[in-house]
């Protein structure tokens, strides 16, 4: 097993693990989380590096583990050229962002939270680009939506941040749903959810009748994420995020995820007229719209946001051509846009940081104060505008060439180069505006003199701008190799011939560039009239208004529906649920044509059973009748619970009887403890209409359940339990089948259940924190409480019994594998033993002697149970497989040791921990209320 067989999941999972550490580290030192984030990013790069040479050799690395084979789910990773390019962008720019953000964040911002979110986001992006299984890809896709929501709303106290984050989540999350549907259809057409199969099945997919719906659904996913028209409007509002987030999400990652999807599915979905029209059309509109609006934005980040939209449109349009050379240009522009846009966002952040403003109407003449930053900004915006000798120029040339190729094929497309040149003119104008407005002109009046940024805030920008220059001047050396493998990865064939020379001779694309530059400068010079016209005519048009309208309508619709069912009353809700269940049951019975009762032979009735049944029926009815006298009702409830235990005894279920018995004790103690703080009686009800309605509903439910029980019990069935009975001894190594099912066959279920129990215990702990309740001074009869809080006889007796109870618990635990017993029951018995001590001796007395924090017990139990399962996985068996062996001990003789006992011990610990914690917390409450009692009632 070499590193190359498992490094990709490590690369993907590292940031997620790192996120936990980043959050944790910040509790020690504010800056530690930045160090963690940087280290994790570098580590991920280190794990990625060994596979680079393989990819350049033309290999596609696939590393997969079976997950749920029945539905085609695999935990599968894939690294080809395209994935490699994106992974490098995500990690490389991610690292620069981490360094930058370390200096950008203000003293009051929580570093731990920021870097934890950032790392989660980074991991999700890596997951998208490295997934081989497309369902897994969707999982990571949704994770990017969620984590970007957290990042955009990082400054939670700001309304615009919250709204922008919500909008991004709604749009991209909704797109994610469409994408999921599209991918499911796609996988269904191909018959596999693995990219390798899907990518090879392009012809099959394109000729399939469901091609168009699949295409549209997948494109909705891609367009929402990449802010393509008509979903573009969320992106500018996401600018409320801290600038490092914008620089990361909107240059190299989040918005590029949609583009990645286009590149990924290019060999499958492209090449049809539908693809060309939808993708090309959306791209062209977005290109123009983004470039136009960008020119009129006064906020630097707003300008950059719309320029991002425009550039994403350009890339989409290139993919829309559906040609191989188009894909080359698109992927080339992805690299270039990531570098110059990330650096420009960082510059915007520096300006904001040093001057406190991002408004271009206020900012002026900053060149004087931060010449170095200004030079960087000038180079980066020149790249954005497509000035020669910079990377943006090269990809734009390729882009122009592609639009002209389209004209050769259909002359009607003549309009395309014109529109594209128009967009380029606007791009030059807004780039110029950014530079000229901010860095030149009269130096502005500022209360504080702005100064250059900290060194390490600038170095990431330095590096990125250096890349812009290097790519622009030496494209063949710097970018050509990685571009070639990335294109090969996207197209799944050898890349077409392309040349990245700076000089292609004096041709039409160069003419278009020159026109764009000249007219761009002109547009900027005469901008005042344009601005006035824009403000008068266009400004008020905002896609957000439509979004708001739709959004509000949906919310209104949802709340009308909710309100018509949920009137803020629990009884109402329960009545609905019960009624629905009843109707569903009736429909179920109606749809079966045979008689309600089956032919199975019934068991004879005996006198004791009738007596027991009579007692439980009377007890439960008395609970209802006396429910206003709560103490007596609890006693009745206890009687009913004990009879339930007897029912289990009667029908050959000793495990259940033991469990029910011990749970019953704990439940009654718990209810009594709680009752202490609640009113001892309920007010009398006078609504006879309501009471008769409730009686009607409950009698109906009771009869319904009774008939259903009979319908089942009078029929024969074929149990699947024969398997468990046959395999308990050879497979699980024990004779108590119920316990073997719990700890081995259905061990994962049990693990889930103890997690629920642990959460309930922790939830109780959390709920009772800081709760102050005041106990009544007198009991129901008006008598004062007994002064002797801990009667001597009880104290002495319980101390004597305590070791015996523990011994019983241990005994029940150990024999559980072969005879009735096991972790659950033993845990409950041990818990009762402890609780009795607390009851008899008081909390403080017991706590002083039992210095165990129940949090740790719960945690240890969960850990033990999980680790046991993982060990069997590590040995190559399914999760939680039992292994066992026989030891021969002196005296005891032959003794069986099963690994399940470790799991059962985990169960035991969780049950003890959760139960004791719940009751002791309640007990503490009563202790406190006693101490706060100002005067004791005599």
């Amino acid at each position: 097993m070499t590193l190359l067989t498992f490094n990709l999941p490590i690369v993907t999972m590292l940031p997620f693990v790192g996120a936990i550490f980043a959050a944790w580290a910040s509790t020690f030192n504010r800056l530690a989380s930045a160090w963690v984030a940087a280290t994790v990013t570098i580590l991920a790069l280190v794990f990625l590096i060994p596979s680079i040479s393989e990819v350049f050799a033309g290999e596609t690395l696939i590393q997969s583990w079976s997950w749920i084979p029945a539905i085609g789910l695999e935990f599968a990773f894939r690294l080809d050229g395209l994935a490699l390019l994106f992974a490098i962008l995500i990690l490389g720019i991610g690292l620069l962002i981490v360094i930058y953000a370390r200096y950008y964040l203000y003293a009051k911002d929580s570093m731990g939270r920021f870097f934890a979110y950032l790392l989660i986001f980074m991991g999700s992006m890596l997951g998208i680009v490295l997934s081989e299984n497309i369902i897994q890809l969707i999982v990571f896709w949704e994770l990017t939506s969620l984590s970007s929501f957290l990042l955009i709303s990082y400054w939670q106290y700001r309304k615009d941040a919250r709204e922008g984050a919500l909008m991004a989540l709604v749009i991209t999350g909704g797109g994610g749903l469409a994408l999921l549907a599209g991918v499911l259809i796609l996988g269904n057409i191909v018959g596999s959810y693995n990219l390798s199969d899907v990518l090879a099945a392009g012809d099959l997919v394109r000729s399939h009748e469901l091609y168009l719906p699949t295409l549209i659904l997948i494109l909705i996913g891609a367009f929402t994420k990449s802010a393509q028209f008509p979903f573009h409007f969320w992106l500018p509002h996401a600018m409320a995020a801290p600038t490092p987030v914008s620089a990361y999400l909107h240059s190299a990652t989040m918005v590029k995820a949609g583009i990645f999807l286009l590149a990924r599915f290019f060999p499958v979905l492209s090449g049809s007229p539908e693809w060309t029209w939808i993708v090309g059309g959306a791209g062209l509109i977005t290109l123009l719209l983004g470039a136009y609006i960008a020119l009129f934005k006064h906020d630097i980040k707003g300008l950059l946001a719309y320029s991002t939209i425009s550039h994403l449109g350009l890339i989409t349009l290139l993919f829309g051509f559906g040609t191989h050379l188009g894909a080359v240009a698109a992927i080339f522009h992805i690299i270039n846009h990531a570098t110059f846009k990330a650096s420009l966002f960082m510059v915007a952040g520096i300006i904001d940081h040093e001057t406190g403003s991002r408004d271009m109407r206020k900012l002026n003449g900053l060149f004087k104060y931060m010449p170095h930053t200004a030079v960087l900004a000038i180079i980066a915006s020149a790249a954005m505008a497509g000035v020669p000798l910079l990377n943006g120029f090269l990809s734009k040339e390729m882009f122009f060439k592609q639009t002209l190729t389209a004209v050769y094929e259909t002359p009607l497309m003549m309009v395309l180069p014109v529109l594209v040149t128009l967009a380029a003119i606007l791009a030059v104008a807004y780039s110029l505006r950014f530079i000229h407005d901010v860095f030149f002109g009269e130096p502005m009046e500022l209360s504080e003199k702005p100064h250059g940024p900290p060194l390490f805030m600038r170095i990431p920008v330095d590096l990125l701008v250096l890349i812009c220059l290097a790519v622009g001047i030496f494209p063949m050396f710097v970018v050509s190799p990685i571009l070639a493998v990335a294109v090969a990865g996207s197209l799944q064939t050898a890349p077409p011939e392309f040349s990245l020379a700076i000089w292609h001779g004096f041709n039409l694309p160069l003419m278009m560039s020159i026109v764009a530059l000249v007219f761009g400068v002109l547009v900027y010079m005469y901008r005042e009239r344009l601005f006035a016209w824009h403000e008068r005519r266009i400004e008020h048009l905002d896609a957000r208004i439509i979004y708001r309208f739709i959004f509000d309508r949906i919310v209104m619709f949802a709340s009308v529906i909710t309100r018509s069912f949920d009137k803020g009353s629990l009884q109402n809700a329960i009545a609905w649920i019960t009624g629905t269940a009843f109707v569903a049951g009736v429909i179920g019975f109606m749809s079966v044509s045979s008689s309600v009762l089956g032919q199975r032979e019934l068991l004879p009735v005996d006198g004791i059973s009738i007596l027991a049944a009579a007692i439980i029926i009377i007890a439960s009815i008395m609970t209802v009748i006396l429910h206003q006298k709560r103490l007596i009702a609890v006693m009745m409830l206890g009687v009913a619970g004990l009879i339930v235990a007897l029912i289990f005894v009667k029908f050959s279920a000793p495990d259940l009887a033991l469990t029910q018995l011990s749970v019953e004790i704990v439940t009654i103690v718990l209810l009594l403890l709680a009752l202490y703080f609640l009113p001892q009686t309920s007010p009398k009800e006078i609504g006879y209409l309501r009471i008769s309605r409730d009686v009607f509903i409950s009698v109906l439910s009771g009869v319904g359940v009774m008939v259903m029980t009979m319908a089942v019990m009078t029929r024969d069935f074929l149990p699947i339990s024969d398997f468990f009975l046959a395999n308990a001894v050879p497979g699980g190594g024990g004779t108590n089948v119920v316990n073997i099912i719990l700890v081995d066959f259905r061990g994962t279920d049990t693990l889930g259940e103890i997690v629920v129990l642990a959460l309930a215990g922790l939830g109780i702990y959390a709920l009772l924190q800081g709760l102050k309740l005041y106990a009544p001074a007198r009991d129901e009869m008006g008598l004062g409480w007994n002064d002797d809080e801990h009667p001597q006889i009880m104290q002495t007796l319980t101390r004597l019994v305590f070791p015996l109870m523990l011994m019983v618990a241990v005994f029940i635990f150990i024999r559980g594998h072969n005879l009735p017993g096991g972790g659950f029951i033993a845990g409950l018995i041990a818990a009762v033993a402890l609780i009795v001590q607390y009851l008899a001796n008081g909390i403080s007395w017991t706590a002083a002697r039992l210095k165990i924090d129940m949090h740790w017990v719960i945690g240890l139990g969960l850990l033990l149970a999980t680790v046991t399962g993982l060990v069997s996985m590590g040995l190559g068996y399914p999760f939680l497989t039992t292994t066992y062996t026989y030891l021969t001990w002196p005296v005891v003789g032959k003794f069986e040791v099963a690994s399940a006992i470790a799991f059962d011990l985990g169960v035991f610990l969780v049950v003890v921990g959760a139960t004791v914690m719940s009751l002791v917390q309640l007990g503490k409450l009563s202790d406190m209320s006693h101490k706060q009692q100002p005067e004791k009632a005599r």
């Binding site: 009735v605 009738i610 279920a653 439940t667 709680a674 409950s698 069935f717 339990s721 009735p820």
Partner: protein, 137 residues
């Protein structure tokens, strides 16, 4: 025997549902406990009733009771306890935060008789209101 057990399940369900429809938190929790009993026995009964069969593997045994529903019900009992415990504490929390134990947080429900005759209750509430002020001083 089946009829008898079905009747027991039916009564447990009916009483459970009736109590969950009450207006105060404590009866609701008791109702859910009763309902949990009913559901557990119901689930158990889905394996059909067997009397006097061995519970563990025994070479001499002719047949066994169905172990699968038993395993499911065993965890269901424990989970039901966890739920009851959580709910009762939630009820306490609501009482602490809202000052009453009505399920919808009302001091007095629509169909309830005011507690004026019950002086004890009143005294309790006054006491609980007066104490925080004393603590502040």
């Amino acid at each position: 025997m089946e009829w008898l057990l079905a009747l027991v399940i039916g009564v447990l369900t009916a009483t459970g549902v009736y109590l969950t429809l009450r207006m105060r938190t404590f009866p609701v929790v008791m109702g859910l406990t009763l309902l949990a009993y009913g559901v557990n026995v119901f689930l158990f009964a889905m394996g059909r009733l067997t009397i006097g069969y061995p519970a563990v593997i025994d070479p001499a045994a002719q047949a066994y009771s169905d172990p699968l529903p038993q395993a499911l019900v065993l965890t269901a009992i424990v989970i039901a306890f966890g739920m009851t415990a959580f709910l009762i504490v939630l009820a306490l929390k609501a009482r602490g935060e809202l000052g009453n134990d009505h399920v919808d947080g009302l001091d007095l429900g629509k169909d309830e008789l005011p507690l004026e005759k019950n002086n004890l209750e009143k005294e309790q509430q006054q006491r609980s209101k007066s104490i925080p002020q004393e603590n502040k001083q």
